[in-house]
Structures are given as structure tokens and as C-alpha cells.
Amino acid sequence: MGRVEIRSVSKKFGETRAVDHVDLATNEGEFLVLLGPSGCGKTTLLRMIAGIEIPTEGEFVIDGRVVTDLPPRMRNIAMVFQSYALYPHMTVYRNIAFPLAARGVEKGEVHKKVEWAAGMFKIGKLLDRKPRELSGGERQRVALARAMVRDPSVFLLDEPLSNLDALLRTSAREELRQFQRRVGVTTIYVTHDQVEAMGLGDRIVVMSQGKIRQVGTPMEIYQHPADTFVATFVGSPPMNLLEQGDTLLGFRPETFFPADAVEGSEGAVTYPFEVTYLEYLGAERLVYGNVGEKSHGRHVVSRLPGSLTIPLEAGKTYPFAVARRDLRRFDRKSGLAVKGESA
């Protein structure tokens, strides 16, 4: 139960292609994150899986059944909207009961299930309230409860944490992950926040301009980005890219260290690093500067752990090194990753 296949799906709005020939399949019970900047087509793709938006081309298959032409209510999916879309005139109880009532579930059964869902999200005390009397976090829980109460085969989430404040977001993220593990329902989660994507996803799908740029585990996405878009979109600060002839040399800021701190410098490449600006962030230090000859692609960032207390000053040049195994190469024209990682 809970396998979604997306077969060569496109969606055009007028002349613009919001989603461009996307092929994708989920594994059963996995937590799949669609990650990309706003306007990359991730929400449109999610809405097409839900059936709210009709694809221009292509097919959707859920659990072996082609659902492309089926209305949302016949797809057995649940969706949480960014705005939560709680029914403002109904109490929390009736909000959660709504999907069950729509399926003609018998009253006693409805009551049992609502109690179960409310217990799971710890909102048992709020059942008699109206949505406008709830805080942001409470609304989010009600939206999740309403989505889960019907045992969907797929669970779709459209940026459900973006309306919460930063502190609440972290705890809600953790709860969401634990909850998904417990119920084991295939989940497709849309976000533009790469931290959320890294923390939540079994696999991440990075999208840009309607196309899939890479599909992989958080580690694959971070360690071996498929192209320069993924390399610079995931990670903060993004991967450094140095121009070197026809190729771009990429390395993560946290792999770029003062040369003496790199163990066994025979496996490392050393650069003279001209420091221009320093940021002390407590747990870490960000060192901005330039490497090599004067050209565009020579601006790099180094991210040093707070425990590394080597004194550095802006305006001076230091030998910095990056281990060869941490170097990635990209084709300068296409931006695609090049196999073979020695510099």
C-alpha cells in the first residue's frame, strides 16, 4: 500500500511549463521530500498527485491503479495544506470527523477514530473549539489529525511547518518524523527549506524550473550533488565552486580548513586563502575570502567549528586546504557533475 508512480507528467499554465516531464516513484512507507525554490513546480506536482490539478500530459498511478482522471475523493489520499484549510465554521471535532462523514462511516466508529486521532496529536482538550480559537501549532495538529483519521494510502504535505515560528518548527519537525515512522504511511512532503528536507526525508527530490535535478538520500544529495544547482541550493552556506578551465571545482565550506589542521596534507589540495571578512556565530566561524588569481569564480567560504580557535584576521592570506576526497567536479557549461574526483 502507498506506492505513487509519476509517469512523464507535465503541467502547462498557458505557455509556462510548471512541471516538465517528471518521472518519479515512491517506495512504500517512505518519507519523500520535494525540495526546491518557489516556483520550481513542487507544489503543482503535489496538487496533481492529489487530483486538485489536472496534468497536461502523463499519468499518475497509486497502488497500481491509474488515477489520472479520478477526482481527489476517489484517490484515497490525505493532504495537509500550507494554510491548514480548517473549516472555520466547524468545531475541531467536526473538522476531524469530516473525511469520515464524507465516506459515510457509522457514527460510533467516527467517534472512536476522532478520539484516536485527537489522542495521537494531543488535541483531545480542543475538540469543542473553533479553529479561530486555536494557536498556529494547534491548528497544524488539527490539520494533521484530520488528514490521518481516514487511513490514507498516501499522505501529502504542502509546507505544513512554514506558518509556525522557528522554535515550534523544530519540535514539530521531530514529532512529524516520529509520527510518520509509527504509522508507516507513504508521505510526500513539499518544502523550500533544505534543513527541513535534510532532517525529514528518507529521500529528497530536488526540483528546479519544473524539472527534477536529483533524487537521493539526504547524504547523497549533500555529498554528491548531481549538478551545480543542487550543489548551491542544498547546504548553507552553499558549496564553493572554483573555476578551473572547463570545469568547476566544488567543495563544502566545512571541508576547507587551515592547512595545518588538515591531517596528512599529502591527500589534500592547498590554496592561498585571502580572508576578506569573518563572522563569529558561536558554534562556528564563517570565513569569507578569495582564492587564486583574480577572476569571477574564486570567492569561497570556509566554515570552521567553534573548537578550532586558530586566530584569523581579515586582509591577511593563509594557506587553506581541502582533502582530495572532498572535491567534486562539474562541467562548466552543463553544470553536471563529472565522475572521477581527483583534482
Binding site: 487530483g51 481527489p72 484549510a85 472555520p88 465516506r103 481516514r150
Partner: protein, 316 residues
């Protein structure tokens, strides 16, 4: 040595009239107060006084005679017909208006070719002067030259032995009691519909799209979405449209006056037309005032509900 701080520029003096909040507030609210007192308060008081007097258009001096005029109105069989007709006329036309305006509003929510023109045409009856529009309808309903009858005759529904509307050549829209009432209701629907449609459109477009989509995903059929989401969420604003329509219809004189003058034999007589005939045309100001005051409780109730609902729509 520090340089002295220059005194703040106060613009000189203690400010003009626009700087004195108290005076300015009174000045700005004065036209509204004046309007309400002169155009609503005074006539209302006058109506109450007249209704308890024996004033006529020939002798409008006030001699109070108590509640005699109200008793006389209640005793008059035409008054009772007018009261019943007013209720039937108002409720029937408003029920039709609410249903039709919802249908129109739903259609106008969807994008389609020529939507601008349709929207314009829907609004047109509202922009035409009531009397002009109604005179147009007078011709449509003409006993001999009615275009509706032409069409019916052309279709064979009228004027032939087998016609479903009968063998006679004309329907006499305004000459047959039931048909006359239906004709008057139709014109009133035509007139109120644009405003009701615009209000309903406002209500429908205020529902976030997310809610409807969420209900779709939650498994609700189109019927259930309408009954459980759209109607409850638009109920306050639809009620306002309904009450506005009631007020307009209840007090309307023009449609009945132009089309039927209350006839045939009082079959379309309503309170406002009866007030006019009794009080102005027949000259019995006191009776006219008493009849018109029977409308007051209904209108006052409608006003209270409108104000309440208006507040409720603000909260949601």
C-alpha cells in the same frame, strides 16, 4: 559649550479648526445627523402623528383622534388582501431571487469566454431606472401586443385548438388575478437579481480556495461540499442579500403601480400601493399613514437582523 536646542516649530498660534479634534468631529458628523433627522426622523414622527389624526390632503391640520385609523384599516377587507399579497409577493420573489442569484454567481465564478459581457448584462437591470424598466415590461405584458404572446402563438402554444396555453389569442398577463401576481413577481425578480448576484459573488469569492480543495481531498462529493462548506460559509452574506431584498420589495410601489395599479380587483394590491391610493390619490392622509405604519415592525426586524449579520460576517 553646547548649542542651544531650537524651539519646536508649532506653526504659530494654537492651530486652525482642523487641529481641534472635538470641533472637527462635530463638524464632520453634522451632515449625517442633519440628514437622519430631516429625512428620516421628521417624516417618521409625522407619519405617527398623522396616523392618529383625521388629516386629509384638503385639510392637513392635526386633530388627534386616537387609534381609530388603525382599527379602520384592519376592518377594511382590501387592507387584509394587500397585507397577504405583500407577504406572498415579498417571500416568493425573494426565494426565487436567492436561488437564481446563487446559480448566476456560481456561473460567474468560473472563467469563460464573454464573461465580462455576461456580467455587464446581469448588472444592467440594476442600472436602469425602475420606472423605465417597468414601463418596458408593461409593453411585454400588453394585453394585445405582448411579444411573449407573439412568441407563444408562433410556437403554436397559444391561439390554436391544441395549444397547451389555450385556444385564445392572448394570455392577458396583467388581467388575470394569478397571472398578474406572477407577472409582478417576475419583474421584481428581474430588478432585484443583479444586486443579489453581486452580493452572492462577494460571498463566494471570500471563501478561500484551499477550503474547497481540502473538502475535495477529504472525500466530499460536490453536493456535500455545497451543503457543508459553501452554504454555511456564505449564509451570513446570503441572509443580508435576502433581507435587503425583503426591504426593497416590501416597500416597493413602482412595479405594482406601473404594471397593474393594484388590479385586477386588488389581486396585486400591496401595502405600499394601498397606502398611496388611500393616502394620496383618495386624499385620506390619516388612513394612508396608518396603513404604511403596518410595514414598520417587519422593516425594523429586518434592519435588526441585517445589523447583527453584518457584525457576524466581520468575525468569520
Amino acid at each position: 559649550m553646547t548649542s542651544p536646542v531650537p524651539p519646536a516649530d508649532t506653526g504659530g498660534g494654537r492651530g486652525g479648526i482642523f487641529d481641534r479634534r472635538e470641533t472637527l468631529a462635530k463638524l464632520l458628523i453634522a451632515p449625517a445627523v442633519l440628514y437622519i433627522v430631516a429625512m428620516i426622523g421628521a417624516p417618521f414622527v409625522l407619519a405617527i402623528l398623522y396616523s392618529m389624526s383625521n388629516a386629509t390632503t384638503g385639510d392637513p391640520s392635526l386633530h388627534l383622534v386616537g387609534l381609530r385609523n388603525f382599527a379602520a384599516a384592519l376592518d377594511d377587507p382590501v387592507f387584509r388582501i394587500a397585507l397577504r399579497n405583500t407577504v406572498v409577493f415579498t417571500l416568493l420573489s425573494q426565494s426565487i431571487v436567492i436561488v437564481l442569484s446563487r446559480v448566476l454567481a456560481n456561473a460567474l465564478m468560473k472563467p469563460f469566454r464573454g464573461k465580462g459581457i455576461v456580467r455587464f448584462l446581469v448588472m444592467l437591470p440594476w442600472t436602469a431606472p425602475i420606472s423605465l424598466g417597468t414601463i418596458g415590461w408593461l409593453w411585454m405584458y400588453d394585453s394585445i401586443f405582448s411579444p411573449i404572446d407573439w412568441v407563444m402563438r408562433y410556437l403554436g402554444a397559444l391561439g390554436t385548438a391544441t395549444g397547451i396555453l389555450g385556444p385564445q389569442t392572448n394570455l392577458y398577463w396583467l388581467g388575470v388575478p394569478g397571472l398578474a401576481m406572477a407577472s409582478v413577481i417576475l419583474v421584481n425578480v428581474w430588478r432585484i437579481l443583479p444586486l443579489a448576484t453581486v452580493i452572492q459573488l462577494g460571498g463566494l469569492s471570500s471563501i478561500p480556495k484551499d477550503l474547497i480543495e481540502a473538502a475535495e481531498v477529504d472525500g466530499a462529493s460536490p453536493w456535500r461540499r455545497t451543503l457543508m462548506i459553501t452554504i454555511p460559509l456564505t449564509l451570513p452574506i446570503v441572509s443580508i442579500a435576502f433581507l435587503f431584498g425583503i426591504v426593497f420589495t416590501f416597500t416597493d410601489l413602482v412595479v405594482v403601480y406601473v404594471l397593474t395599479r393594484g388590479g385586477p380587483v386588488h389581486a396585486t394590491q400591496v401595502l405600499s400601493s394601498w397606502t398611496f391610493f388611500k393616502g394620496i390619490e383618495a386624499g385620506d392622509l390619516a388612513q394612508g399613514a396608518a396603513i404604511s405604519l403596518f410595514m414598520f415592525p417587519v422593516l425594523a426586524m429586518a434592519a435588526v437582523f441585517i445589523l447583527r449579520l453584518a457584525r457576524r460576517t466581520e468575525v468569520v
